[in-house]
């Protein structure tokens, strides 16, 4: 490999590259958009370069965190990657380990999702850095993310502290021509040095550790003050009344806009790559030199809150930056236009073509909402649930099956595991009033391994009653097909120990467990009714149905084994029931004939729609 080879890398692959260039020994993760591509990229580098990296898909983010931390306690370099809400799950470990610290460098990669494009919140991981009192790096591009990873390891080792790298989705999923460097192989053997006072610190000693942490943070802040690689000014060519403090991808967007509008010479920029701890002196000095300073950052106001004297500052707190949503180029353009106008510096042309927007609006194009794939076993399961227990409360969870929303078989989606916990909560709230309502919880296999068992055994223990349908497609589909403990395949594709879902459920104390293929809609309906009855029996309890059918995208061949070719007969009267309540993307309305037809490009011959047509117009050939 050439010294300075350039490759097109996805942000997450660049981060993975940074990990191997830094000689990282252990990488763990739980998949979640926008972080999921990091692990597969590390696996690829390991294969390409013959490295000895230990890589794992963990059962959840906290598990991933602790596994990486332990490696660091033995002196090795480790990293853990997750999406921003994953850090909520791992936060217990993060906050505690900030006190006890690390030995080998440890980098916590938490990918934010402004928008949000694929998450339940827009939370800003940099607040977690502040909250836990650990330093954070905030890259603007894939290239910078890669370099920051390497620096983060150095910092982590120098101050024995975990370090956060916070790429936003537009860094993780950006593609860039990235200059790569040689890979470092760090020959370190695991060597855990016992020090119970530190690694098993009691509250009394925690106080001492907290003091040490505060001292380390102070030193890190001083180091960041000197830091010119990540914290630097892009100077205007003349005296500029306006300064902009910015970071992450917002910096990159702003630079492109200023270039396009030829405004670089008018505005000073201070780019911050280390938002916590903020290099306070340099920020104060920058503000001092300007009439007004705009603070532009995603997703929340981490830098802005830290600024001590805000008298000249424009930002979210002054209403100049939207409080929610992604700072897209259009949004940043509008912010800039407003500020330049307010300061009498320039009058930018209004962005967008209103006439065009109006013409397009008039076309009334229906937005293509995301939907379950044609032939998805989860559609079959939801359809059966709606049929069998139409008046139930449907608590669901995070995954492809969240799309059961479209089929009106999902009433709640809170966070990982809440399909079960909300179901048991609903049960007790109604039961208290002596009301018996049907409750059907749905959850995917990967989500169940992530946070199902504690929720389920709690529900059993406290005598809740509901039907739980675990949709086992033998994969983590939503985030891009990562293996689960149930598949018994590891991150690297080798054989791990296969975990039996049914035994796990049994271990949680459930006594009624049935497994069925959801393509068998009729029998699934019967089973659901039986399950409901069991929840009502005197000596009954929680009933669990494992609806097992592999994900079609992941295992297309399995699905072609027993094709059921269907046709739509002339009995179809175009009532569109199947489109509204079944929503297979292969079914579409032929408007001229006023009849539903099958798009053979999409149809996978699953035959499930036979059950969907109330007129019996969909039949097997």
């Amino acid at each position: 490999m050439a010294e300075k080879e350039t490759r097109i890398l996805l942000g997450n692959a660049a981060i993975a590259r940074g990990l191997v260039e830094a000689g990282c020994h252990v990488v763990t993760s739980y998949p979640g958009t926008p972080s999921s591509e990091i692990i597969p990229a590390v696996v690829e580098y390991k294969k390409e370069l013959g490295l000895n990296t230990y890589i794992e898909w963990s059962a959840n983010e906290k598990v991933a965190f602790d596994n990486a931390l332990a490696a660091s306690l033995t002196g090795k370099r480790s990293a853990v990657a997750m999406k921003q809400v994953g850090l909520n799950v791992a936060s217990d470990s993060l906050l505690s380990s900030a006190y006890t610290g690390v030995i080998g460098g440890m980098v916590v990669i938490s990918c934010d999702d402004p928008g949000p494009l694929s998450s339940q919140t827009e939370q800003d991981s940099r607040f977690f850095a502040m909250f836990a009192k650990v330093p954070a790096y905030d890259p603007s591009t894939p290239q910078e993310a890669k370099e920051m990873v390497k620096e983060a390891f150095e910092l982590s080792e120098a101050y024995q502290i975990p370090v956060i790298l916070r790429p936003t989705i537009k860094v993780s999923h950006a593609k860039q021509s990235v200059k790569i460097s040689p890979v470092k192989v760090l020959d370190r053997k695991a060597d855990f040095k016992k020090d119970p006072e530190r690694w098993a610190a009691t509250p009394k000693y925690r106080f001492v550790l907290h003091k040490k942490l505060n001292e380390a943070l102070k030193k890190i802040e001083e180091r960041f003050e000197q830091e010119s690689r990540w914290n630097y000014e892009v100077k205007a060519s003349r005296d500029a009344p306006l300064g902009i403090i910015t970071c992450s991808v917002s910096f990159a967007v702003l630079m492109d806009i200023l270039e396009e509008l030829d405004l670089k010479k008018e505005i000073n920029i201070f780019k911050v790559g280390t938002p916590f701890p903020l290099p306070q002196k340099r920020v104060a000095d920058f503000i001092e030199r300007h009439k007004r300073v705009l603070v532009m950052e995603e997703t929340d106001s981490v830098i802005e809150y830290q600024i001590v004297d805000k008298s000249k500052v424009l930002g979210r707190l002054t209403g100049h930056i939207p409080l929610q949503g992604e700072l897209t180029p259009d949004v940043i353009y509008d912010i800039l236009a407003r500020v330049l106008k307010e300061m009498g510096m320039a009058d930018l042309e209004k962005s967008g073509d209103e006439r065009l927007a109006k013409l397009i609006e008039d076309l009334n194009i229906d937005v293509r909402r995301p939907t379950l794939c044609a032939g998805c076993p989860e559609r079959a399961a939801f359809f059966a649930i709606k049929r069998a227990l139409p008046r139930a409360i449907y608590s669901s969870d995070i995954g492809c099956y969240t799309l059961g929303l479209n089929l009106k078989a999902v009433d709640t989606v809170l966070d990982m595991g809440a399909g079960i916990t909300l179901a048991s909560g609903f049960y007790h709230a109604y039961h208290q009033d002596e009301n018996d309502v049907p409750i059907v919880a749905t959850m995917g296999d990967s989500t169940f391994y992530h946070s199902g068992p504690a929720s389920l055994l709690n529900a059993v223990y406290n005598k809740a009653r509901f039907v739980l349908v675990i949709m086992d497609n033998e994969i983590t589909a939503m985030t891009g097909m990562q293996p689960t403990p149930g598949s018994g395949i590891t991150a690297e594709g080798s054989k791990g120990e296969k975990i039996s879902l049914e035994e796990l459920i049994k271990g949680c104390g459930v006594r009624w467990i049935k497994t069925i293929d959801p393509y068998d809609v009729e029998n699934l309906i019967v089973l659901l009714k039986e399950a409901r009855k069991y929840t009502q029996k005197r000596d009954g309890g929680i009933a669990v149905i494992v609806a097992r059918h592999p994900c079609l995208i992941r295992y297309p061949d399995v699905c072609r084994e027993n094709p059921v070719k269907v046709v739509i007969t002339s009995d179809c009267d175009g009532c569109q029931y199947c489109l509204d309540y079944f929503e297979c993307p292969a079914l579409y309305l032929n408007e001229e004939k006023d009849r539903v037809e099958i798009d053979r490009n999409f149809c996978v011959d699953c035959g499930v729609c036979i059950h969907a047509c109330p007129k019996g117009a969909i039949i097997p050939v």
Binding site: T6, R7, I8, T33, P34, L117, S118, S140, T141, K170, H173, A174, K175, Q176, S177, V249, F251, A252, V253, M255, D256, I257, E260, T328, P329, D330, Y333, S351, G352, D353, R355, L356, A357, L359, I360, D362, L363, I365, R368, R369, P370, T371, L372, C373, C400, L403, M478, T479, G480, P585, N601
Partner: protein, 189 residues
């Protein structure tokens, strides 16, 4: 060269593959490449858009009114992404013919000096033997018309290097045929 490209379509139409073609092209030409793709939810049959910026951009996103070229693999997605196109930009749509496109919008685009070319890439791809090559054919067609600043040989090399072995022959055949169609569209009979 500095060029900003938007690719629009729906999941499964090869948007990501097309985006790869252009990013590798940038690499081959020694240009800085920046771009972004929609991932996640959008892959479940929803809209997919890719932005590509070649020749010295810092951010991976394209601002409204600034894209030079829009490739749209589906009519509806064209309407959704047209706003990115700049005045005097160029748009290629996978569509039977320009007459199928909304008349009012077409007139408006003409006023903005935007060139819009429809090419039945899906039809052409089916004819050649693989519907999956429609994306490659739309790109090939654009090259043939000479309305885009890319050279046939460069794109062909890149296509060869990013194609899977089993698709290589088919891809090149589809690409070359579309380039020819693009060329001949310039000299109507």
């Amino acid at each position: 060269m500095k060029v900003q490209i938007v690719l629009a379509g729906i999941g499964g139409q090869g948007i990501l593959f097309s985006s790869k073609i252009f990013s590798e092209l940038g690499l081959r030409l020694g240009l800085d490449v920046m771009g972004s793709e929609t991932h996640g939810m959008s892959q479940r049959g929803g809209s997919v858009t890719a932005h590509l910026k070649l020749g010295g951009y810092q951010s991976p996103m394209i601002r409204t009114d600034t894209a030079d070229i829009l490739y749209s693999f589906e009519e509806k997605e064209t309407y959704r992404t047209l706003r990115f196109l700049r005045r005097a930009g160029t748009c290629f749509i996978n569509l039977l013919s320009e007459d199928r496109f909304d008349k009012k919008i077409l007139d408006h685009l003409k006023k903005k000096e935007i060139t819009l070319r429809a090419y039945d890439a899906s039809g052409a791809a089916s004819k050649i033997g693989s519907i999956l090559t429609a994306n490659i054919m739309l790109i090939g067609y654009s090259v043939g018309t000479g309305l885009v600043p890319f050279r046939h040989e460069d794109l062909r090399c890149v296509l060869a290097s990013v194609s899977k072995k089993k698709d290589l022959k088919m891809n090149l055949k589809a690409f070359d045929s579309a380039v020819r169609e693009g060329r001949s569209s310039l000299n109507p009979l």
